[in-house]
């Protein structure tokens, strides 16, 4: 995890606020019945309403409101009993009505916070507000082509805009905030959080102020960051850019800047003077949004366990160390996987070690650039549970287990079956192991003498030789015990 250089942090304090757009994974769009799913052929998920034909009207998808209420409850926001829809007016070919229906003056919820693991313990990042709005479509500019194409599948897909207070103090903290937010939204099953598919998008407001000051400096808004890594790199670049400018006696201009992942720089997109006047006004085609206590209670009943509660439960119920519980519960899918494996074999720490080690390793390997995805892991959790049981009941050694694990990846096969087929059952018979030890000791009488002369380190050599002679199947504990006894003479 990179950080801003020391020379900057000696003089300047970065002040960062994030605006995150999260696509709600409802079946249908926010204001019409079209499918909201990603990945269809262009313009297949469209109708007169979401293509802005003359004479159409929006009809609110109540399911989207329920998803939004879940997000509000999960972040401890205050839900406004009456909120309002507003029109945000601007011209762009992928905005078919020339306005976006959003919430401006009175969002459906305000306040709230997200707790992020910081370097010095938990950090509370306050939320200003969350509001609902519809997404725009997508413009596709053909390279060198004469035309731009417009895909309106995404037009009117429901979004949450989650706006934080300027409570974030470093790029790493911004990335941690994004990860935590993603985790929460996935836990409550309202957003799939794929930054590369655009279902979670982030703009950052970055400014610097002299260390010790409580005034806010002039900020730049950074756009176009489509991965966690990009969020971190872009903010770090921006901190350095602003610090250099300020140190030279320059002034920061309030502007919107675009992150360019190829050059690793932000560049100016438009200044404050060029900023759009969106001419917000109340949407006359929709009634005010009323969310009463009964509706909130109904949503609360269906709320799944949240990441922090689950982490606490993992510590308490399974006796896991806080760091293990944090790793396992960061992703809902990983935590689900862990508990499913545990259902087959009740050794929390043993199962946890395998999940945090080998399972995360293979998920990371598959992920390459994006965040690891724990939804379709190549080993069934029940099989992992059985594998740990085979170790714990002495059927196989930890070392054999590693090779069994390798054979399990991508094959839906019970580890016990692999062990049987490959003849990998561990040898614990003292007579047979003793015979093998006797053979090795006879072969290496010189080393035996050296050992007995005080060269203890040779024990490892003898263990290795015995394991080799038994094809790795000898029970290491038995080998160790018998070897020590026989070497003692």
């Amino acid at each position: 995890m990179s950080a801003a250089p020391e020379w900057i942090l000696e003089r300047w304090e970065p002040v960062i606020g994030l605006e995150v757009h999260a696509q709600l994974r409802t079946e249908s769009k926010l204001f019409c019945g079209c499918s909201a799913r990603f990945g269809a052929e262009p313009n297949q998920h469209t109708c007169p309403v979401c293509t802005g034909m003359p004479g159409v009207l929006p009809v609110l998808n109540r399911r989207a409101v329920e998803f939004a209420v879940r997000a509000a409850l999960a972040t401890n926001c205050r839900i406004n009993p009456v909120s309002r829809w507003d029109r945000k007016n601007y011209f762009y070919p992928d905005l078919p009505k020339a306005y976006q229906i959003s919430q401006y003056e009175r969002p459906y919820c305000e306040g709230g916070e997200i707790v992020v693991d910081g370097e010095d313990g938990p950090r509370h990042v306050r939320l200003t507000r969350i509001h609902m709005e519809e997404d725009a479509g997508k413009s596709i500019h053909e390279d060198g082509g004469e035309h731009s194409l417009v895909d309106l599948n995404r037009s009117s897909v429901p979004l949450l805009e989650i706006v934080s207070e300027p409570d974030i103090r470093s790029a790493a903290e911004a990335a941690a905030y994004m990860r935590k937010l993603r985790s929460i939204l996935r836990y409550i099953e309202v957003c799939d959080g794929n930054m590369n598919e655009g279902s979670m998008r982030c703009d950052a407001n970055v400014s610097l102020r002299p260390l010790g000051s409580d005034q806010l400096g002039t900020r730049a808004e950074i756009k176009n960051m489509n991965s966690f890594r990009a969020v971190e790199s872009a903010i770090n670049f921006e901190i350095a850019r602003q610090a250099e400018l300020l140190d030279e006696g320059g002034r920061i201009v309030q502007e919107t800047r675009l992150w360019d992942a190829d050059t690793g720089e932000t560049r100016s997109m438009r200044s404050k003077e060029e900023a759009h006047d969106y001419r917000y006004f109340p949407e006359p085609d929709l009634l005010p949004l009323e969310i009463d206590a009964a509706w909130i209670a109904h949503v609360r009943e269906s709320m799944p366990e949240l990441p922090d509660a689950r982490r606490e439960r993992f510590e308490r119920r399974y006796g896991l160390p806080p760091s293990d519980a944090a790793v396992l519960t960061a992703s809902k899918e990983l935590a689900d996987y862990f508990e499913a494996a545990l259902a087959k074999h009740d050794n929390p720490k043993g199962v946890a070690n395998w999940v945090m080690g080998d399972i995360i390793r293979i998920a990371n390997k598959a992920a390459v650039e994006a965040e690891p995805d724990f939804t379709d892991l190549p080993i069934a959790p029940a099989h992992l549970g059985r594998l740990v049981r085979l170790i714990d009941n002495g059927t196989i050694s930890g070392k054999i287990a590693k090779s069994v694990f390798a054979k399990m990846v991508g094959h839906d096969e019970d580890p016990a079956a692999i062990v049987r087929r490959e003849g990998l059952v561990q040898e614990s018979d003292e007579g047979k192991i003793g015979e093998a030890i006797d053979g090795i000791l006879a072969q290496h009488s010189d080393k035996v003498a050296e050992y007995r002369g005080g060269k203890d380190k040779l024990l490892g050599f003898f263990v290795g030789q015995v394991m080799k002679a038994t094809g790795g199947k000898a029970n290491p504990a038995v080998v160790n015990r018998l070897l020590k006894a026989k070497l003692r003479g």
Binding site: G55, N89, P93, K97, R279, L287
Partner: protein, 500 residues
Amino acid sequence: MTTLNRLSIEEASRRLAAREVSSTELTEACLAEIERTDGKVGSFLEVTADLARRQAAAADARLASGDSAGPLTGVPVALKDLFITEGVRTTCASKLLVNYVPAYQGTVARRLEEAGAVLLGKLNMDEFAMGSSTENSGLAKTRNPWDLERVPGGSSGGSATTVAARQSLGSYGTDTGGSIRLPASYCGVVGLKPTYGRVSRFGVVAFASSLDQVGPFATTVRGAALLLGAVAGHDPMDSTSINAPVPNYNEGLGESIRGLRIGVPDEYFAEGIEADVEARVREALDQLKALGAELVRVRLPHAEYAVPTYYIIATAEASSNLGRYDGVRYGVRKGEQDGLRAMYGHSRNAGFGKEVKRRIMLGTYALSAGYYDAYYLKAMKVRTLIRSDFTEAFENCDIIASPTGPTTAFRFGERSGDPLKMYLSDVLTISTNLAGLPGMSLPCGFDRGGLPVGLQLIGRPLDEPTLLKVAAAFEDATDHATRLPALCEAKAHGSEDAAL
């Protein structure tokens, strides 16, 4: 002499049900009259003769098998050209949409289809419903059947003229600030603007969403009531449509209005009202009194702010509603070789007429950062005051009566050079829209030039029944609605007389 196209809707409906006349005969009579007079009047932008004949044949088949869909089965009507009609060109009288054929059906057109009505065609209007004379049509000129040198009123000019000229038995228009009532008044027919939300706006091309409302035109009050009943009611596709049961609007018409209190607002009889208009309306009030109603003086103290308030709210909403006409997906596209901004500019410049551009600019200005509070927000506050004026007035009366417009129909060009003068045509109708109330205009006589004068009635929210009851009582007691424009009296084609 009577011809089929001159039948009132209730009479046509009765004869259709009794199998005394066929929908095909009625439809052919209307099509023939359109053929005969529309070259002079210019009601229609498109006559859907083939569709009408098919629908008439289907209606006749239903009636023959005793499977009537209701009182409008087989009745020929026409629609203002801002009602979305699937497969039938819908232009809003704008060059921008001159070739736009909707791929979906609007709620009004669907309900009329379901009611078995016959669609004769699409009617001229002020472009995007912006105007009071239909002079702002980008596509055609519509003339007042009572005097072809005068405007029919607007914006639903064609909807009024087609009924006045007896080309259609009934029609539908929309009313945002008087766009049904004013042309009804100028053309001497009945026009009704229901309570905001009573009729679905899904499939009505929006001008000002918080003010637009659909309503009928007919030669009689009972005809208008039948037309309203066919389209009123909640629509899940329009979140602002009212979810309340639809009464039978024809029930109780003809009953006594004895004891009903009719409010007469001082502010609506102030200066600027033509003497003949005031005289006819006062006579109408006397007539209502003679019928047993009680006249009550009421005050609407914020009436003078209605016009400026309306022109801020309506233009603000319009500036947003009309953003979608950008040349990207449908409509006129020009200048695409010069880049996106140029394409927007050229397409909108070529497509929109002068008044539409003026209102988009006004509305854009009113919503701009730094002006929003002074204009839009203030207008919204005044709107609340205007609404409470009516609430208070209705504590002392059951309906309110006034002239519909300060004058009778004016000559072409008389007001089009001065937008403010044109806007004042709506001074007596606009408040009703700001308050969301039902209002109607019905014929109450003629000025010295032989031009029709309209009596406006305004009711409580959803109290269309009382409005219609008073209007029917007035209509039954007078004969203003029976006089026809000279144009209709000219010898018609012979065949349709035979049926009578």
